[in-house]
C-alpha cells in the first residue's frame, strides 16, 4: 500500500515513518511539508492513503482533502491532528478516519486497515460530497496532465464555456470542471456575476466601458481581456463601482 505523509513538522513525520516501519506492509511513497506539496506529490505518486496533518501552512489539511477528493483516483485520507477540535469537520470533509497526536501504533494500524478495505468505487463516492462550508484558498486544476494550484486571490475571472469553466488568473488560464453556480456560491462577496457565464473578482475591478457596438465591458487589473457585462447585471455592477469610487 502506497502511503503519502503530509506534516509540516519534521519530528512528526519521523515518528509516523518509524511507526509505519514497525507495522510493515506499507510503502512510504513520499513526504510533504505543506498542503501544496502534498497535493503535488499525491498527483504524481498516486498514493492509496494520505496521512494528512490538519494544521499546515498555506493550503491546510482540510482544504487539501477537499482537493484530493476531486482527483481522478482519490486516495483515502486519514487526518492527523494534535488537538481534537477539528474532528467533526474532518468527517465532514469525508476523511476515512482521524488520529490524535501523539499517535498510537494500534490506532494507526486500525485506521490503515479501515482505509485498505475501501475500494476505489467507494472512494469515488466521496467526490460527490458537497464541499465544506469554508471557501477554498486555491483552485485545483489540471493542465496537460499536470496539477496546477491557483491561489484564489490571483484569479481575475471565471468564464463558463460549454462543459468547462475557464479560470483566468495573473499567469494564464486553465480549465476546470466545476459548475459556475457552485463557484459563485463558494466565493460569494469576492466574485461578482456580470454575465450569465462570467464571474469577476471584485478586487480586480478597474473600470466600466462601452464599446462601439453598444456593449458594456469591464476592465480588470493585470489582464487584457475585457469581459462583457449583460444588461441584467449592469445595475449591480454600477452600484458596486459607485461604492468603491
Amino acid at each position: 500500500v502506497k502511503i503519502l505523509l503530509a506534516d509540516d513538522e519534521a519530528p512528526a513525520r519521523a515518528r509516523l515513518r518509524s511507526l509505519l516501519g514497525e507495522i510493515g506492509g506499507n510503502e512510504i511513497a513520499g513526504e510533504a511539508a505543506n498542503g501544496r506539496e502534498a497535493l503535488e506529490l499525491a498527483d504524481r505518486l498516486k498514493p492509496d492513503i494520505v496521512l494528512l496533518d490538519i494544521r499546515m501552512p498555506g493550503i491546510d489539511g482540510l482544504e487539501a482533502a477537499t482537493h484530493l477528493a476531486g482527483y481522478e483516483k482519490p486516495p483515502a485520507v486519514i487526518f492527523t491532528t494534535a488537538y481534537g477540535d477539528y474532528a467533526l469537520e474532518a468527517f465532514e470533509a469525508h476523511a476515512m478516519d482521524y488520529l490524535l497526536k501523539p499517535i498510537r501504533r494500534q490506532r494507526l494500524e486500525e485506521a490503515l486497515a479501515k482505509a485498505r478495505r475501501l475500494n476505489r468505487a467507494q472512494l469515488g463516492a466521496v467526490r460527490q460530497a458537497p464541499p465544506g462550508e469554508a471557501a477554498r484558498t486555491h483552485i485545483c486544476a489540471r493542465s496537460r496532465g499536470q496539477l496546477v494550484l491557483i491561489p484564489v486571490n490571483e484569479i481575475a475571472y471565471f468564464r463558463a464555456d460549454h462543459k468547462y469553466v475557464t479560470v483566468r488568473h495573473l499567469r494564464g488560464e486553465v480549465l476546470i470542471e466545476e459548475p459556475l453556480k457552485d463557484l459563485a456560491e463558494e466565493f460569494a462577496g469576492r466574485f461578482l456575476r456580470i454575465h450569465r457565464n462570467t464571474l469577476i473578482a471584485v478586487s480586480f475591478l478597474a473600470g466600466l466601458a462601452k464599446t462601439a457596438e453598444d456593449v458594456y465591458v469591464v476592465s480588470l487589473r493585470g489582464v487584457e481581456e475585457r469581459p462583457e457585462v449583460s444588461r441584467r447585471h449592469l445595475f449591480e455592477l454600477k452600484e458596486l463601482l459607485k461604492r468603491y469610487g
Binding site: A10, R15, I103, A134
Partner: protein, 417 residues
C-alpha cells in the same frame, strides 16, 4: 457575574497597589492580607502620600467612623493593629466626636458647654486611648481566638478600661475642685453612664471592624478569582505537539527528548502555578528561550529568532507569563501559517524607570481559516497588566512595516526591600 466581578475589581484597583511583593505561597485570601502589609503608608513618599489622601476621602464618604484599612492583619482575626498610627488617629477623632455630642446634649450655657467639652474630651480620649493600648498589646492573643470570642474579649477590655478610668477620674476629681462636674454623691451614676456609653460605642466600633474585614475578604476573594480566570495558559495545541515531538525524539535522540521533557515541565510548572505569581524578567526571558527551543525542534528552519534584550534589567519583577504568551502568539499566528517560515524578534529596552518589550512576527497575508484567539490573548495580558501596574502598564499591538508587533510597557519594579 462577570460584571459584578469587574466592578469589584475596579474598586480593588482604586486602593494603592502593592509596589513590589514577594510571590506568596500560602493559599486563600491571606495572600492579599500580606500584600496589605506593603501598601504604601502616608509617609512613604510622594506616590504613597497621594494615594493615602485619596483613600481618606473615599472613607470619609463611606462611613462616619473613618477607618483606614488595618495595616497588619496577617493573623487572620478581625481586630486591626491598634498601634498603627492611622488607627490611633481614627480613634482620637471618633472619641472627640463623641465628646462633642455629649457636650452638645448637656444642659447649660455656651461657656459651660465649652469647659465641659474640655473635660469630656480629656476623659473620653483617656478611655479610648487606653483601650487602644490594651487592645494593641492583647491583639496577637485575641486574634488567635474565634471571632465571637475575640469580639467578646475586646468588648470586656473596653468596659474594664472605662470602669478603671471612671474610678481614677473620681479619685482625681476629689482633690482638684472639679466637684461641680463630678459631685461626690453621683459616683455610681457616673460609672453607670460611662459604662453604658462605652458598651454602645465599643460594640459599634468592634462591629465596624468585623464588617470591614468581611467586606475586604469578599473583595479579595473576587479579585483572586479574577486573577485565576486571567491566568495565562499554554495552548493545548502546543502541549500535544510537544508530546508528539518527544514521542518522536525518544527513538531518534533520547538525550534531546530528555531535555525537551525538562523544558516542558518548566513551562507547565509556571503555567499551573498560582495565578498572580511574580517572577523576574530574567526568569521570564529564560522561560521564553526554553519555549522557543521546543518550537524550533518542531518547526526547524522555518522559525528564526532574533533576541535583543541585553540591556534589560533582569532583576525587574513582573507577573509570571506576561511575555511568553506574546511569543507563543507570534509563533502560532505569524510563523506556522507561512510555508517558508519567518523571523520573530524579541526586543527590549529600559529607560526612565519603564521597561518596554516588543515581539514582532511576520504578517501572514491571507490568514487561513480557523485561526482566532489572538485578541483574547492580548485582552488577557492587557487586563493582567492593569491589575498589576494600574494605569502605568500599557500594551500596544498592530501591523507595522509589514509585520505584526506587540509592545508591552510597564514600570521597572525592583524586589521588595
Amino acid at each position: 457575574m462577570r460584571n459584578r466581578a469587574g466592578r469589584i475589581t475596579r474598586q480593588y484597583i482604586k486602593f494603592p497597589r502593592p509596589r513590589a511583593v514577594r510571590p506568596q505561597r500560602s493559599g486563600g485570601a491571606e495572600v492579599f492580607f500580606r500584600h496589605a502589609d506593603k501598601w504604601p503608608t502616608p509617609v512613604q513618599g510622594p506616590r504613597g502620600r497621594a494615594t493615602g489622601q485619596r483613600q481618606g476621602q473615599t472613607i470619609m464618604k463611606s462611613s462616619t467612623i473613618a477607618l483606614p484599612r488595618a495595616a497588619r492583619d496577617d493573623a487572620g482575626g478581625f481586630l486591626p493593629d491598634f498601634c498603627n498610627i492611622r488607627i490611633v488617629f481614627v480613634i482620637v477623632v471618633t472619641a472627640e466626636l463623641l465628646a462633642f455630642i455629649l457636650a452638645l446634649t448637656a444642659p447649660g450655657n455656651t461657656a459651660e458647654r465649652w469647659s465641659r467639652l474640655g473635660l469630656l474630651s480629656l476623659f473620653i480620649q483617656w478611655v479610648s486611648l487606653s483601650c487602644a493600648g490594651c487592645l494593641c498589646l492583647a491583639r496577637a492573643r485575641l486574634n488567635r481566638l474565634p471571632s465571637p470570642f475575640a469580639g467578646a474579649a475586646a468588648f470586656l477590655i473596653i468596659l474594664l478600661m472605662a470602669g478603671v478610668a471612671v474610678e481614677f477620674a473620681v479619685l482625681i476629681a476629689g482633690g482638684t475642685g472639679l466637684e461641680s462636674f463630678l459631685p461626690p454623691g453621683r459616683h455610681d451614676e457616673f460609672l453607670r453612664t460611662s459604662l453604658a456609653i462605652a458598651a454602645i460605642v465599643g460594640a459599634v466600633v468592634l462591629r465596624y471592624f468585623y464588617v470591614q474585614r468581611q467586606t475586604r475578604r469578599t473583595i479579595e476573594a473576587e479579585a483572586r478569582a479574577r486573577f485565576q480566570a486571567l491566568q495565562a495558559r499554554i495552548r493545548p495545541h502546543f502541549m500535544f505537539n510537544s508530546m508528539n515531538t518527544i514521542a518522536s525524539l525518544t527513538r531518534t535522540n533520547p538525550a534531546l527528548a530528555e531535555e525537551v521533557v525538562e523544558d516542558l515541565a518548566e513551562l507547565f510548572r509556571i503555567s499551573l502555578a498560582d495565578a498572580g505569581n511574580l517572577t523576574t524578567l530574567g526568569a521570564e526571558l529564560d522561560l521564553i528561550r526554553r519555549y522557543l527551543k521546543i518550537e524550533t525542534l518542531r518547526m526547524g528552519e522555518r522559525l528564526r529568532i532574533v533576541e535583543e534584550t541585553a540591556t534589560l534589567p533582569l532583576d525587574a519583577r513582573i507577573p509570571a507569563l506576561l511575555v511568553q504568551p506574546l511569543v507563543e502568539n507570534a509563533v502560532y499566528h505569524g510563523i506556522e501559517p507561512l510555508a517558508e517560515g519567518g523571523t520573530i524578534r524579541i526586543e527590549g529596552h529600559c529607560g526612565d524607570g519603564m521597561i518596554t518589550l516588543c515581539v514582532t512576527n511576520p504578517l501572514a497575508l491571507a490568514p487561513p481559516r480557523r485561526r482566532s484567539g489572538n485578541h483574547m490573548a492580548l485582552a488577557n495580558i492587557r487586563e493582567r497588566l492593569q491589575l498589576h501596574y494600574g494605569r502605568h502598564g500599557r500594551i500596544e499591538a498592530g501591523p507595522r512595516d509589514g509585520a505584526f508587533r506587540v509592545c508591552l510597557t510597564f514600570p521597572h519594579q525592583r524586589e521588595a526591600a
